[in-house]
Symmetry: C2
Subunit: 404 residues, 2 copies
């Protein structure tokens, strides 16, 4: 029997307990041994809940119990999760987690401790919820040099954009509705400003490129600036808008960015709607691949945590190699990154197109009768720096969205 | 250094050599040791090709060389691949393969030999080309009880159906065109009759359900009966047709089938077009997931073979557990499987709808002005057996396609 402890009895923690209870027979078979939850750490008590008898309030009870071999850290946040995880690994206990903040900030150090002790620090649930993506990156896509990852990595913003697209509503209205339905948090900043997606793409990029990508260096733009009018144009173009988190290797330069982008109907990311997530990967021999599924939610996320527990149970005295060194990957300034841009300008095409063309070249105006006094157009591919200069020259730009 | 041999220098075999040459630095890093191709077995010689110096014509040279630890069997077909693989495994050499015929027929036996010798028989490339699906099933989706797999597992038929859909052409014309372009073989039977997809879903189902699914027991229907007229109706319904290979657990019954089905626009499989493949999986805690990518082709398939070689290099003296026992999974006769059906009947709705409704209930006629003298309709959900009875009663059915 393998004794484990769960840190945190919140949404994911209670999901982990539920998954282990529900599928115990098949999980034990796949782990090769019975997995038993001995402790659940939480500040609260849960009288009447069957888990109450396992609740402890003091992490040291778990740390000092030599029977505990595996710990699921599903508390979220950097502290005290970081202190607990480090102590656990130093004590020779494998840890798995759904905690993207912690993995993005201290992943290389915690992986290094696990390597030295021949145990494991696994974090499948930190990116893409239940979608298997960390393990495929580590052990399936090993024949490839990956040159692009592009993910829809945040379910809340994808839900909001999908609703805006389907109902023609404005951001604020859909956000309010999503909050009422429990799809968005009361303080939605981490989601709608792209911070959550930023941590996730930092983790995925670090694994794909083998060196540490610092999330604080990733240019991050959320979806708060996207309006119902933008969506009208994009619909007319037969495309959609997604909040994309991506990293790309171009020659020897690495770019990473989180920003809303316009996605065409032939792109596999186009039809990833609602709270679903997807991660598109391009490898130099594999070509295109995409992993799709539930990017959040109690049971899908718990499914990934428990899959890590099973993997740790199968590798109790063996480190599962991952390629994420602590040496830092130098990201190239995005001002050199090249894209096409969709631009909306104030003015009348008859009067103002000439000026626009003087700056942006022979663009074709997109005019919507329901939006008088403005028009849109798509630029040719140019660098971010060039675009910024042209936007300033133009002077009357209402909004611009990058095109994937 | 880990010495390997490649059996067969055809499309996939030459791809394996190319991938190992192209990405040797990153592959060696991920394998933890240098991987070197010592032999390539082929009946032919390749004068002028750098591989010529490694070509051998006698398998025993490979078998009797104690330096060879890993063999990539990419010959295809059951014999002599079966004999070579068995001998290699019995001699303690790990084998990886893209050979779906062999895996579907002798998988459990070969896995058992590998287990007993603490080596590995891996077959990521046998299903879905470069798409990581076997390893995720074995080591990522371990917290779940999988109750459905539905795959677009054959690139040739998906290309043909996509072309028929986009161009409105008939099956025979598109097939001829696909043969000219090299997307379909001169003898296309294995693809267009569904036999290839059948072997693949047998392998995936065996892994998902843990017991051996005999491909010869899977009901298999190809796409040769799909006409341009069928596609016109399906387009009008806002849907598409895909050749699906699926297995499903309903209560305690297991169903498996290969057949063209009508897929709606909200289904993630809807937009899997051209030669791409995808595998949809439903787990009882994960919910929906989908894996998408290049299902065939030299380099994508070789990418999966080489990923297996890397995994075997990391597990030279350890068996990677898989759950595919030799005990046979009892498939339920599909006559009990329940579906909705799209049906085309000869006749005039004004004159014949009453008779149809007497048999199929209150169905709504779908009439296409360009197809006079017939109409279509969608039935309620019913068993295959019930449908067959009603079709016979009706007497004037031109075609029927299941609806996913």
């Amino acid at each position: 029997m393998i004794q484990i402890a769960v840190l945190g009895y919140g949404t994911v923690g209670s999901g982990v307990v539920e998954v282990i209870n529900t599928n115990h027979a098949s999980i034990n078979k796949k782990a090769g041994e019975e997995i038993n939850i001995k402790y659940v750490l939480d500040l609260r008590d849960f009288p009447g809940d069957p888990v109450q008898e396992k609740i402890v309030h003091d992490f040291d009870i778990i740390l000092n119990d030599p029977e505990i071999r595996i710990i699921a850290e599903v508390m979220g946040g950097v502290e005290p999760a970081y202190t607990f995880t480090k102590k656990a690994l130093l004590a020779g206990k494998s840890v798995c987690t759904s905690n993207k903040e912690l993995v993005a900030r201290h992943g290389p150090e915690l992986l290094q401790i696990a390597r030295e002790r021949n145990i494991n620090y696994l974090f499948e649930a930190s990116c893409g919820g239940g979608i298997p993506i960390i393990r495929p990156l580590n052990s399936s896509l090993t024949a490839d040099e990956i040159d692009e990852i592009a993910g829809i990595l945040n379910g809340t913003t994808n839900y909001i954009l999908t609703e805006m697209f389907e109902k023609g509503s404005d951001f604020e209205d859909v956000l309010k509705d999503a909050q009422n339905k429990g799809y968005a948090e009361k303080n939605p900043e981490a989601d709608v400003e792209g911070y959550d997606a930023c941590r996730k793409i930092a983790i995925l990029s670090s694994l794909a490129f083998g060196e540490h990508v610092d999330f604080e260096e990733i240019y991050t733009e959320g979806i708060t600036g996207i309006t119902a009018a933008d969506i009208q144009y994009v619909k007319k173009m037969g495309k959609t808008i997604k909040l994309l988190a991506y990293s790309r290797k171009v020659d020897e330069s690495f770019y990473a960015m989180v920003a809303p982008e316009i996605v065409g109907a032939n792109d596999p990311l186009y039809s990833v709607n609602g709270v679903f997530n997807a991660i598109f990967i391009h490898g130099n021999v594999l070509g295109d691949a995409m992993f799709y599924g539930s990017g959040a939610g109690k049971l899908p996320t718990a499914s990934a945590v428990v899959a890590d527990i099973v993997d740790e149970a199968k590798h109790l005295h063996r480190n599962i190699m991952s390629f994420w060194s602590s040496s830092k990957l130098q990201l190239t300034d995005i001002s050199n990154s090249r894209k096409q841009f969709f631009v909306r300008v104030q003015g009348d095409p008859a009067a103002d197109l000439e000026k626009v063309r003087g700056i942006f070249g022979e663009v074709e105006p997109i005019v919507l009768p329901e939006l008088p006094g403005e028009f849109g157009f798509v630029t040719e591919e140019m660098s971010e720096a060039d675009y910024a200069k042209k936007e300033e020259l133009c002077g009357n730009v209402k909004n611009r969205i990058r095109i994937r």
